[in-house]
């Protein structure tokens, strides 16, 4: 019996998409930690974040 190797769509896992999300995630974690630590004050509770990329921005 022959097994077929599944085809992987590489474009869905481009470095651009993966790493862009990572940089955004790093920023969100750092800011939330700064609020927790008191380095950032004046917020009304937790910061509600919207997150996007310039790829999305281009298509707005």
């Amino acid at each position: 019996m022959k097994y077929e190797v599944p085809e992987i769509n590489i474009s869905k896992f481009s470095i651009e998409n993966i790493v862009t999300a990572s940089a955004v995630s790093v920023a969100e974690d750092a800011i939330n930690q700064a609020v927790t630590d008191g380095t950032i004050t004046g917020t009304a509770g937790s910061v509600v974040f919207q997150k996007t990329t310039m790829d999305e921005w281009v298509n707005w």
Binding site: I15, E16, V19, T20, A21, S22, A23, V24, V26, A27, E28, A30, I31, A34, G38, T39, I40, T41, G42, T43, A44, G45, S46, V47, V48, F49, Q50, K51, T52, T53, M54, E56, W57, W60
Partner: protein, 327 residues
């Protein structure tokens, strides 16, 4: 972000920015003098300020017969500050030292203003000495005070400084204090004296308010009673603003991806969306501004929203969040 959006808050703050006072009160009592160390900003953005030692409720000697004036002396006053925190540029070599003693270190704290101390012609001047990491001020200064006013608030010393903010937090201490009140006749002859403090030869109790801590930088998101945010109400954040490195966040792998972020307060009347505006410049091309609406939770009152934008640094030379509006 602009430096003006940063403040240095203080654990011992009386008021957020303008005045910082000590956090530790020693030997609290109702009828004894109090010597208090205060730190206040002169120019917050430039990081300059002044340390003052203020005396209140000083008492006259018991024997004041024939006294023409009171002679208030502050001496053996040691103010310790971390020499890494204070800019050396303000120090004045012109300050004379008492009894011609030479300062071991002619740097570290800043300039000392003698204010309206009297007499100006006195050879009694501050003497600076230095430890390995701390600078101590052995201050010998004096002030003539109207006997009727000797219990009023009296500033005994004032030190101007410039902070090196990277080295915060730091603690300023006031230790080894002795303050004398002396009664002299019209010819300056000593009639009687009384000394307060915790340094020999003091013999009377004194409240010493010391150990003022200036913590690290803090960023304040300004209050905003409106539905839009820009300029002073929109705070753009960067890693170096909050203890990290760099002006943009990057991915862990260092693949040229970056993120910028801005945060603002809004006053919401159950708004359902926020429209963020972004201005971006391609690596090759002109800057373009576009806006986009995002759904947000309905909140009544103040709410804090943020936008984080990820981008490829090979494609975009700059990305900035320029405004937000809820509706």
């Amino acid at each position: 972000m602009k430096l003006s959006k940063k403040i240095i808050s203080a654990v011992c703050a009386l008021g957020m920015i303008a005045t910082m006072t000590s956090s530790m009160l020693v030997a609290q009592a109702a009828d004894v003098p109090t010597l208090e160390l205060n730190v206040a900003w002169t120019d917050e953005e430039a990081g300059t300020g002044t340390i003052t030692a203020v005396l209140t409720d000083m008492q006259l000697p018991e024997n004041t017969t024939g006294m023409e004036y009171a002679h208030l002396s502050a001496w053996q006053m040691f103010v310790g500050v971390d020499s890494n925190v204070f800019d050396t540029s303000l120090y004045s070599n012109a300050i004379n030292t008492r009894r011609n003693q030479t300062p071991l270190t002619v740097s570290t704290i800043g300039s000392l203003t003698r204010g309206n101390y009297l007499p100006d012609t006195s050879d009694m001047r501050p003497n600076w000495v230095s430890g390995e990491d701390w600078v101590a001020l052995l201050d010998v200064d004096e002030k003539y005070v109207n006997p009727a006013n000797i219990g009023d608030e009296t500033e005994l010393l004032s030190i101007n400084f410039t902070l090196n903010k990277e080295n915060l937090p730091t603690t300023i201490t006031l230790d080894g204090v002795e303050v004398e009140s002396t009664a002299r006749d019209g010819e300056g002859t000593l009639i009687d004296t009384i000394a307060f403090g915790n340094a020999a030869p003091s013999d009377k109790e004194m409240n010493i308010v010391a150990n003022c801590t200036i913590p690290g930088l803090s960023i304040v998101i300004p209050e905003n009673d409106g539905t839009t945010a820009s300029d002073d109400t929109l705070v753009s954040l960067s890693p170096e603003d909050i203890g990290g490195e760099g002006t943009v966040w990057t991915d862990d792998e260092g693949n040229g991806e970056a993120a910028v972020a801005s945060v603002a307060n809004f006053t919401s009347n159950n708004a359902g969306s926020v429209t963020w505006s972004i201005t971006a410049t391609p690596a090759e091309g002109e800057a373009v501004t576009k806006s986009h609406a995002f759904e947000i939770p309905a909140v009544e009152g103040q709410m804090t929203l943020g936008l984080i934008v990820g981008y490829d640094t090979a494609e975009w030379s700059s990305v900035a969040i320029t405004g937000g509006a809820i509706e």
